[in-house]
């Protein structure tokens, strides 16, 4: 019984962490997207890397700017993690959706990191941080799923 409660509490904490990381992702994606749309410069720890990435045609798959995809993904994750707080049923039912979004996110950031390194030959700091953020979200969602199974 105690172990069950402990795992339940951990699932709640993990959902909080995923929620905060998703919101950080929303903020980062918004910041980068506005700079791409307004053609404004952004703070970039990799020097001209952010500019190089923003100006590359590879950064607009099907005409969609990469940060817009990030913003959509992180917003979805924020909504899902919020909905999971509504009741226990939703907490369980929506977890596969969080994992699915996280998996899509990991595939997307992997493709884009490859594109940055080998095709654009420049790295955007924000994209790199976002990639790490998405991997962490996915891993936390998977851990959460294992704990959820133990509770069940």
């Amino acid at each position: 019984m105690m172990k069950h409660m402990k795992n339940d509490q951990r699932v709640i904490v993990l959902n909080r962490i995923i929620f905060i990381l998703s919101l950080i992702g929303v903020l980062m994606a918004t910041y980068v997207l506005q700079s791409w749309i307004r053609h404004a410069s952004i703070v970039c720890l990799t020097g001209g890397g952010c500019t190089l990435v923003a100006k590359s045609r590879y950064s607009y798959p099907f005409g969609i700017p990469v940060p817009a995809v990030g913003l959509a993904g992180y917003t979805m994750l924020t909504i899902l993690t919020f909905l999971r707080t509504m009741n226990e049923g939703l907490r369980t039912k929506l977890l596969p959706w969080v994992i699915g979004m996280g998996l899509f996110g990991v595939c997307f950031v992997s493709w884009f990191t490859y594109t940055e390194l080998f095709l654009i030959k420049g790295v955007c700091t924000w994209c790199a941080v976002s990639a790490v953020n998405m991997v962490i979200i996915f891993l936390l969602a998977v851990i959460s799923s294992h704990m959820q199974k133990r509770i069940a």
Partner: protein, 208 residues
Amino acid sequence: MKLAPESKLFLSIIAVTVAIVGIAAVALTKPAPVYTRYDLIPSDAHTLGSLSAPVYLVEFSDFECPACISAKPIVDDILKTYGGKLLYAYRYYPLAQHPFAQKAAQAAQAAGLQGKFWDMYALLFAQGETLSDATFSKLVTQLDLNPDKFSSDFMSESVKQRILKDVNDGNRFGVNATPTFFLNGKKLELSSYDQLKTAVDAAVKGLK
């Protein structure tokens, strides 16, 4: 509908985030300041073109930055096209993450003290991202510079201070990436370097 305390907490955090984004949006839409020619092009700046030209283009750049290397042919093309109608100034903005950017700036400034800034500028950019300590001595020979004078100038405090002055000015003018261009005092926000030529073209023709 009654919300769980956890949901209320999440909603509060979302509300705070939306407020932050709103405040940032207001701050970011403030019109960019316009700097004077005297602010952007001090008397000791490295310039090309006509000093009396009504149009002035200032670049804050780093010799080792890939984006600056990509922009260089466009700048060359602009200077070739509008040389007499434009004043172009190159200002140093070496970034800390590029291991040879500061040394490249020192090499350009030291070469400038022997009247060969623009030759060194062209050769440094021609190296692409392959700068190394060996590059500088090779370029000294290639440009037929006095090696002793170059070495002492390269290491001198006055050269380092001259570069730092450009960096401090860049920070004052809101430079946070390289290359950053100012056309007639206004910071350009470019989505491609071809737009740089279009902007200069419009300025020269008096459209802007």
